[in-house]
Each structure stands twice: as C-alpha cells, then as structure tokens.
Symmetry: C2
Subunit: 206 residues, 2 copies
C-alpha cells in the first residue's frame, strides 16, 4: 500500500551485474551473452552450454567462471530488456488511466517473457527468488503500477505483486505451447485480466 511513494527513487538505469574489468574478460563476457542469446532463441533456455562456449570462441571453463549457473546466463541475456521494462513502468505511472497503464505494462511484460522458450519458467524462478537487484527493481515498479490501479478500484485488492507476475508467467508459459494459435493465448490472457478486475459478484455489489 505504501509501495507507490517508496518507488520515487527507482532507478531506470539498473546496475549492470558486475562486469569483468580486464579487457579480454569483458570481451569474452559480451561474446558469451551474445551467443547465448542466439542459442536461446534457437533452442530455448536449455540450449547446450558447451555449444554456446564453442560458438563464442571460448573455453567451457570461461563460461562457468562468468556464469556459475545457467540462470545467471539467462538473466544476463535479458538484463537490458528488463531495464527497459522498469523504465516503461516508471513512465506509465504518469499515464492518465491507472488501469490502461497497468494493462499496457502487462502486455509488454508478457511479450518479454515469451521471447524464447523456457524464459517464462526462468523468470518465474528468478522473480520468486528475488535475490537479483534488477528483479527487485521490477517488482517495485510493478508494485507501484498495481497499487495505483488498486487504489483506483479497477483491480481487486487481494492480489499482491508476486501473484500478478506469477500469473503473467503462467500465461506466458501456456502461450509457449500455443505457438501460432495467438487467439487462444489472447483468450487466456483475457480471462486472467478479467479475473484480476475482480469477481462479477463483488463488482455488482458496488
């Protein structure tokens, strides 16, 4: 409830997760992220790490040095886009309609989570854990948009930020299976969004 004022200081320029300092190290870091991006796009988040290292022209040990876990690599790949989402959320706080602002952000978030196969799963895990600063920032940003919409009475008051984001991950996860059937994916999102507005009974009682 007090999330909105607390967000005033949210940085759109999220801290880049400790980049290496030495020239060659940084070059390898960037190459690995770039190759991981294309590999994830082709094969999903469970693409072969060895192949990523090979395509980046780097030993497998170097990959592990920079990214001890696969999640670290996934996060690095989507880091910039997450920063964009943070910025968008902050900008949307000034939009006239609290409802449209939230919905529009959720659409962007959903598009992000569906960028490659397995990302929705990965995001659900990462956001849940919440140990990363970029995720924490995004949660704050989402919280601000959500609570504004709730204060406007257009979103039910009993859902919290994690509910909201996990529901989006769930829809994105489901959409992965729909493939070209965007109509189905759209209907599922519609159902969830309508559910977020509240039960018909509650609304009728106002």
């Amino acid at each position: 409830m007090a999330a909105a004022p607390k967000l005033v200081g949210v940085s759109t320029q999220t801290v880049v997760s400790e980049r290496p300092k030495r020239a060659d190290a940084r070059r390898n870091f960037d190459r690995l992220v770039a190759q991981a991006r294309t590999a994830f796009a082709e094969r999903g988040t469970d693409a072969s790490l060895e192949e990523i290292a090979r395509r980046a022209g780097v030993g497998i040990g170097t990959l592990y040095r920079h990214f001890p876990t696969r999640q670290d690599l996934v996060v690095a790949v989507v880091h910039d886009r997450m920063a964009e989402l943070n910025a968008k959320a902050v900008a949307l706080l000034d939009a006239p309609s609290p409802e449209d602002a939230l919905i529009s952000w959720l659409w962007a978030y959903l598009e992000h989570a569906g960028e490659f196969r397995g990302l929705a799963d990965s995001m659900a895990e990462t956001v849940q854990a919440g140990s990363l600063t970029c995720c924490a920032d995004m949660k704050s940003a989402a919280a601000a948009l959500l609570s504004r919409a709730q204060r406007a009475g257009v979103i039910r008051s009993d859902v919290d930020t994690l509910d909201l984001l996990q529901l989006m991950h769930a829809v994105a996860w489901s959409a992965e299976r729909c493939g070209k059937d965007t109509a189905r994916a759209g209907r599922m999102l519609t159902v969830v969004l309508d559910g977020l507005r509240g039960a018909p009974a509650d609304q009728a009682g106002r």
Copy 2:
C-alpha cells in the same frame, strides 16, 4: 455446443493402453509403473529412467520396449487417476448446480495435476496433442461440464475446453513454485475462476 449429448456414451472405464500379454512382460510393466510412480513423486517427471529400471529390477532396454518415450511412462503412471477424473466428471453432470459441478471438478483436476513436479507440464503437452484415448475422453467429459455451465450462463461463452484445461495446467504449474504457500496458489486460482465467469462489464450489462 453439441458436446453434451455426444458424451452420453463416454466410458468411465477407459481402455487400458495395450498391456503386454506374456506373464513376465506384464509383471515388468507393472513394476516399472510402480517404481516410476515413486521416482516421480521423489524427483519429479525428469527422474532418471535408468534408476527406475534398476529399482524395478529390469534392464533399461525393457523400459524402452514398454515405454518408448518418457511421456508414455508418465501417462501410464497417472492413467488410473485420469479414469477416476473421467468418472467424476460424468457423475457431476447430474449435480444440481452446473457452476458448482464444474468448479468442483476443476479442483479435483488441479489436485491431480499437482501430484508431482513436472506433471502439469506433462499434462499440458499430452492434452494439447490429444492423441491418447484417455485424454480424448477427459476432454469430452470436461467439455460436457463446461458447456452445461455455459448454457446456464455462469461461465463466459468464448472459452473452449482446451482454454479451460490449459488454464488449469498453468495454475498447477504456478502452484508448483508456491510450495507451502497455498494461500498464493488459492488466490491465483480464484483470479482465474473469476475470469472464467466473465468480465465484470459483461455481467453488469445483463
């Protein structure tokens, strides 16, 4: 729309997926399913197949002979419970309230899909493919319950059976991550169920 009358002949006793005939083969089949069940319960659907074979006292080749793909094994494990769900659906067609009947069945379905980690994903895949008779039966059963509720006007008319089931899989998938936090899982289901009833605006317009 014509799903309900078509369902009259649905068999609660689903056809058992071609059990082997020879005594030893059948014994191995049953042992594999039993060990797979406990392995899935412990490690999820991506438990080691070699360990399952070993624990069943059977060569790995025998496992592959009976279950060419992992999905086949998963389906075999949950087969009986799916038959129970079919029976329950048919029984609930006679319940007085179409809405309560559907909701109560969805709860049962959700409980089933959350039996072990990875099952929701597996179900989503299997139901989507829809090549198995037990899945086809369940889809028919769900379709009957759904269309009855839709005819009663308590569920929005623009969702189909696959939408409904995939939304349940999505909720179950999300719930896997909640663990002990059943309150969050409950809230997510509530949101989806309310969404299934329709948009507040639509309801208000009646």
